[in-house]
């Protein structure tokens, strides 16, 4: 879910968006993506939660796991989304405001449901976590060092980390393999790389050099620049362990 598809406070346009989400979900499912993440990037800065009516519709068409992110602030928020068929929920800004929230979510639903999104920004060689990154006017440093935040979050029960390297995001110059490799050494749960994918070689690099468990990308897939079946064939050819594209029944 990107800006163009998110309503700018106009509720009646929601239905059109839902159509788009379902269409995209079906397309990526047919292309044999391994997992989908739905981000409402404006939810936290606006102080609202995701509109959840589409979650169950997505669950009905998808036969792969999916994760929902955006402004999940309470156990009830998480429960509603999981009950509608999402496999995981991802939290970012609310966890920074109240780290104990990670613990409560993990106790209630199990670590496997609880993904921590981390937006990490490099400034003069130091990696810092940012919050409310969906809106440039509200984005702010959370005054936490990236690796120590990730270590704390996994101790609190986060079952997966999605590390978005902000300096790389949207630039399509490749993932930040150095930062990801450093986090990988301290991270005992699955680590997903995010931010910077521009070519198929970038995916191969991040698996080879950073040892991540997964690579997330948006723009190169949305634009059709990289097709998932082609990417999977490319990665398999590089001896990277990935679910191969199977022929449809």
């Amino acid at each position: 879910m990107r800006e163009g598809k998110v309503v700018k406070g106009v509720r009646f346009r929601d239905h059109r968006i839902v159509g788009d989400i379902i269409e995209l979900a079906e397309r990526y499912c047919a292309d044999q993506a391994d997992e989908l993440v739905f981000y409402d990037i404006t939810a936290s800065p606006d102080g609202r939660t995701v509109d959840r009516s589409w979650v169950s519709r997505v669950a009905a068409v998808l036969d792969i796991p999916f994760c929902v992110a955006g402004g999940i602030r309470t156990i009830a928020d998480a429960e509603e989304i999981l009950n509608q068929g999402a496999d995981k929920i991802s939290i970012n800004s609310p966890a920074l405001e109240d780290p104990e929230f990670i613990t409560r979510l993990a106790r209630r639903f199990g670590s496997q449901c609880v993904v921590l999104g981390v937006d990490s920004h490099e400034l003069q060689g130091r990696y810092e976590v940012y919050r409310n990154t969906g809106d440039p006017t509200k984005m702010a440093s959370a005054a936490r060092e990236t690796v120590s935040w990730i270590v704390e979050a996994q101790e609190r029960g986060a079952g997966e980390i999605v590390l978005n390297c902000m300096n790389q995001d949207g630039v399509r110059q490749g993932y930040d393999c150095g930062q990801l490799a450093a986090v990988r050494r301290r991270c005992n749960v699955p680590l997903i790389a995010s931010g910077g994918a521009g070519s198929m070689q970038h995916f191969a690099d991040v698996f080879d050099r950073a040892g991540v468990d997964g690579a997330l990308a948006a723009s190169v897939f949305h634009s059709g620049e990289i097709r998932i079946p082609d990417l999977k064939a490319f990665l398999s050819g590089r001896q990277i362990d990935i679910r191969p594209v199977s022929k449809p029944e």
């Binding site: 036969d63 199990g110 050494r185």
Partner: protein, 201 residues
């Protein structure tokens, strides 16, 4: 052919929406129930499970379903924690389980290469033959989310590996089970669910 009626045992807390959608996509209606009569009368029974073994066993005992499951004669499919519940015990909270399948679920070994929980797509290796495996072969990927697993034993139909081999699919009499989530395992998972619905009653 009439649609098989599938009873999904309500073990509480489990997220079963995706399972029900997956069954619907292959044309099967399901009910989520903790009513012993409905479970006993169903053509097919599924024991799902997300969460902790001891808590799930507690819920099954509180409704008396624990004793009923072992008496079922129709095909029964355990999924993920549901598979571990069919076994004798689990190292998780040292839970005593249903004892339908002999064995104790052990904690996966966490290494830098194999973080725990094991979350993601893993290939299986088939080592048995069973109608449940029709059209499914070694090298097919399924979606796993777990921290505990059953060791490989004579009931094992397929194994997977995460810091060591474990049972991915098993069968004993009318009981079959998968450590992975077939409802989230794309075409291969759907195939397995179809096979389950086709098992002779």
């Amino acid at each position: 052919m009439t649609r098989p009626a599938v009873a999904i045992i309500d073990s509480g807390g489990a997220n079963i929406a995706s399972l029900r959608y997956a069954l619907r996509r292959i044309g099967a209606d399901s009910v989520l129930t903790s009513d012993p009569a409905r479970i006993r009368d169903a053509d097919r029974v599924i024991l799902p499970g997300v969460g902790a073994a001891a808590a799930a066993m507690e819920r099954l005992r509180s409704t008396g379903i624990d004793a009923l499951i072992g008496e079922l004669t129709q095909p029964v499919l355990g999924i993920c924690l549901g598979m571990q519940l069919l076994a004798s015990a689990s190292e998780e909270d040292e839970a005593t389980c249903l004892g339908i399948i002999e064995g104790t679920s052990g904690k996966l070994a966490a290494t830098p290469e194999t973080p725990v929980p094991n979350m993601g797509w893993c290939p299986i290796r088939c080592c048995g033959s069973h109608p449940l495996l029709d059209g499914i072969g070694s090298g097919d990927y399924f979606y796993f989310v777990h921290s505990y697993a059953l060791p490989v034993a004579d009931y094992t139909l397929a194994t997977a590996d995460h810091g060591g081999p474990f049972t991915a699919i098993l069968a004993r009499a009318n009981f079959v089970a998968t450590q992975f989530h077939p409802e989230r395992s794309a075409v291969a998972g759907s195939r397995l669910l179809v096979n389950f619905l086709r098992l002779p009653a």
